[in-house]
């Protein structure tokens, strides 16, 4: 056990899995960095955010492969490599770059197994970065994971802490299905206790980060932290909030959410993504259809607005769901009960 940041946890996991399995290779832009540079340095980047630092040195450039700016070829090559015996971990620097490699995910990687009648496996991971909050602007701040979750054949992981990040990434790398692993750019330095050595966390098992009885709050990635903060704050008023972090959105652990709503009768879903056809709508819809009888109040979505992410810092702060907005949503869904609980 040691205190590790999400960045360190991911780096440890990649190192351990590469040591464990020679078929694991990493490819992406500047995953090492410095090739063709005039200083001849061994590693100039280790990933734009330092997540792959030191791996090229340890495993060599044949397994930590810097590519040109060529996302279609990066993801396409990962697809072909996975079909033929490697277990590639491809880096898509920002999830916003989905647009320049989407066919390989949508029509190739996701469909090989089905199209080929179950006679192919595509064991690859696409590591990518999501989220607003750092002033990266409209084309570098999106949270497009719902589009990926909607694609049959793709699995999607959204870790919210270092422990989950390490275990889910190990599972993703060992998984025989293609997985998109979404790292929130504002969470890389978030720390928690992480076991030494390899371990995996199963997909499709939500993590209940707070136990509570009055309302169920489902949140993803960075929103889990804000939901927990809101829960702490409201606890002081006697409002008991259960917070659920699905951890993977495909597969999605609907059962745990239903179980919780059966207890609380109230649902708030917090998602940093835009509201239309996102995970918030998906979960509200699933609960409305499958746990209708337990719902004592209309479910509430807390999401970003139906707008691009502005570059403007104070507008971006307004754009992302805040602890305050989550609190307000919880009070709203509790209605009178809130006051009763409070008194």
């Amino acid at each position: 056990m040691a205190l590790k940041s999400i960045r360190e946890a991911i780096n440890d996991c990649l190192r351990e899995e590469m040591a464990r399995d020679p078929r694991v290779v990493i490819l992406g832009e500047d995953v090492c960095g410095g090739l063709g540079g005039s200083s001849g340095i061994e590693e100039a980047a280790g990933g734009t955010f330092g997540v792959t630092a030191g791996l090229a040195k340890q495993f060599g450039r044949a397994r930590v492969i810097d590519t040109p700016i060529t996302e279609s070829a990066i993801i396409g090559a990962a697809a072909g490599a996975a079909l033929t015996g490697l277990r590639p971990v491809a880096e898509l620097m920002f999830i916003d770059f989905l647009g320049v490699c989407f066919d390989q995910i949508l029509n190739q990687i996701a469909k090989f197994r089905y199209m080929f009648g179950g006679r192919a496996k595509t064991p690859l991971v696409i590591r990518t970065m999501i989220g607003a909050g750092v002033g990266a602007g409209p084309q570098h701040s999106q949270s497009l994971y719902a589009m990926l979750a909607s694609i049959p054949g793709i699995k999607v992981a959204l870790p919210s802490n270092a422990y989950d990040a390490k275990g889910l990434l190990a599972q993703a790398i060992r998984d025989d299905d293609p997985v998109v692993f979404c790292e929130h750019k504002a969470l890389y330095n978030e720390q928690c206790e992480v076991p030494d050595g390899p371990y995996t966390l199963p997909f499709g098992e939500a993590n209940v980060t707070r136990r509570g009885n009055h309302v169920t709050v489902v949140a993803f990635s960075r929103m889990v932290l804000l939901a927990n903060q809101a829960a702490d704050k409201l606890a002081r008023e006697g409002i008991s909030v259960e917070v659920i972090d699905p951890r993977t959105i495909s597969p999605l652990d609907t059962d745990s959410i239903i179980e919780s709503v059966e207890k609380t009768g109230r649902l708030v879903v917090v998602d940093e993504a835009t509201p239309m056809c996102g995970m918030a709508s998906e979960i509200v819809s699933a609960i409305a259809s499958e746990a209708f009888e337990c719902l004592q109040a209309p479910p509430v979505k807390v999401t970003a607005p139906h707008t691009p992410v502005p570059a403007t810092p104070h507008l971006e702060a307004e754009y992302v769901p805040s602890r305050e907005k989550i609190e307000r949503a919880i009070r709203k869904v509790l209605g009178k009960t809130a006051e009763r609980a409070a008194s």
Binding site: R23, G76, G80, T84
Partner: protein, 322 residues
């Protein structure tokens, strides 16, 4: 470059198998027995076979929507291909892929692909596997003249070039992309030159001449196996039939195809040369023709008679585990 007699006979068998297969498919489509869309390979047989005669099962091929010829040349079982085209249980994709998605990884067939330009990056990935695992295997992507304009193809060229991968870009210039001619759609007008600009040998050959294709690919394969990096070959051979079977082909001048058949039928050209230069007799070849036809009849009947996949198949094989 001398070629073994057995190699020539096998090459002929595969080209004949493709020809018979496609002619039969054509009739079957016209008779309405085949589901989905079918894109025929007639006229281009020498390209796939001239290339795949150099390859083993451990070498990979990325195919296109016009993939029947590629599959047969690469050694896929014709009966299992037919089961797939008829979307039957036990087909190469258990009936769920159909004509445009035939794949057979055991034979190194990475799959036909209905997205134009998607297969070269995938094949590059297979080449990366070969290089990473240190095998002497290679990967080859078939690329149409129309596909050669797709951005993904250029990205594949560049990545294969800088990583020095054992990769071959085999362009099939058959004159048309759907209903549009290459003289309109191809900026610069020279596919091989565009590929060569990425720093790899790139040549153009007559795709109706098996020997020309075989020789050009021999060099590319040797280079790949020697770890010297990728090559590109543009093979020119007009297609004989429509873009898909049923295409009216109003964009083609009357008689264009008749002239092609008369002047540059890959099988006729092959037959003339091997009987003239390699002491192979017409009788030998006719025996192969007969065998191919007989087997094809059996396979088509079997495919038609085979059971469909069960209803549950709709829901299976989306994931390995979920």
């Amino acid at each position: 470059m001398t070629i073994e007699r057995e190699t020539l006979l096998e090459a002929y068998r595969r080209m004949r198998a493709i020809r018979e297969f496609e002619e039969r498919m054509r009739r079957e489509v016209q008779a309405g027995t085949v589901p989905g869309f079918v894109h025929l390979y007639c006229g281009q047989e020498a390209i796939a076979v001239g290339a795949c005669m150099h390859l083993g099962d451990a070498d990979y091929v990325g195919s296109t929507h016009r993939g029947h010829g590629h599959c047969i040349a690469k050694g896929c079982d014709i009966g299992d291909m037919l089961l797939e085209i008829y979307c039957k249980q036990g087909g190469l994709c258990n009936g769920k892929g159909g004509s445009m998605h035939i794949a057979d990884l055991r034979k190194g067939m990475l799959g036909a692909n209905a997205i134009v330009g998607a297969n070269p990056p995938i094949a590059v990935g297979a080449a990366l596997t070969a290089k990473t695992l240190g095998t002497k295997n290679l990967a080859l992507a078939f690329i149409g003249d129309g596909a050669s304009n797709q951005g993904t193809v250029f990205e594949a060229l560049n990545l294969a070039s800088i990583l020095k991968l054992p990769m071959i870009f085999l362009y099939e210039n058959n004159g048309y992309a759907e209903f549009t001619g290459i003289s309109y759609h191809l900026g610069g007008g020279d596919i091989a030159k565009r590929a060569g600009a990425f720093g790899m040998p790139a040549t153009q050959v007559d795709g109706t001449d098996f020997f020309a294709v075989y020789e050009a690919l021999g060099a590319a394969v040797a280079r790949a196996r020697a770890g010297e990096g990728p090559s590109a070959v543009e093979a020119v051979a007009m297609r004989w039939y429509g873009h898909y079977e049923g295409d009216m082909q109003t964009y083609r001048a009357d008689g264009e195809v008749d002239r092609l058949r008369a002047s540059s039928d890959p099988l006729l050209r092959f037959t003339e040369r091997v009987t003239r230069e390699h002491g192979i007799t017409r009788e030998e070849l006719e025996r192969i023709d007969a065998e191919v036809r007989a087997q094809l009849d059996v396979d088509v009947d079997a495919a038609k008679a085979a059971p469909q996949p069960p209803r549950e198949a709709l829901f299976t094989d989306v994931y390995v585990s979920y």
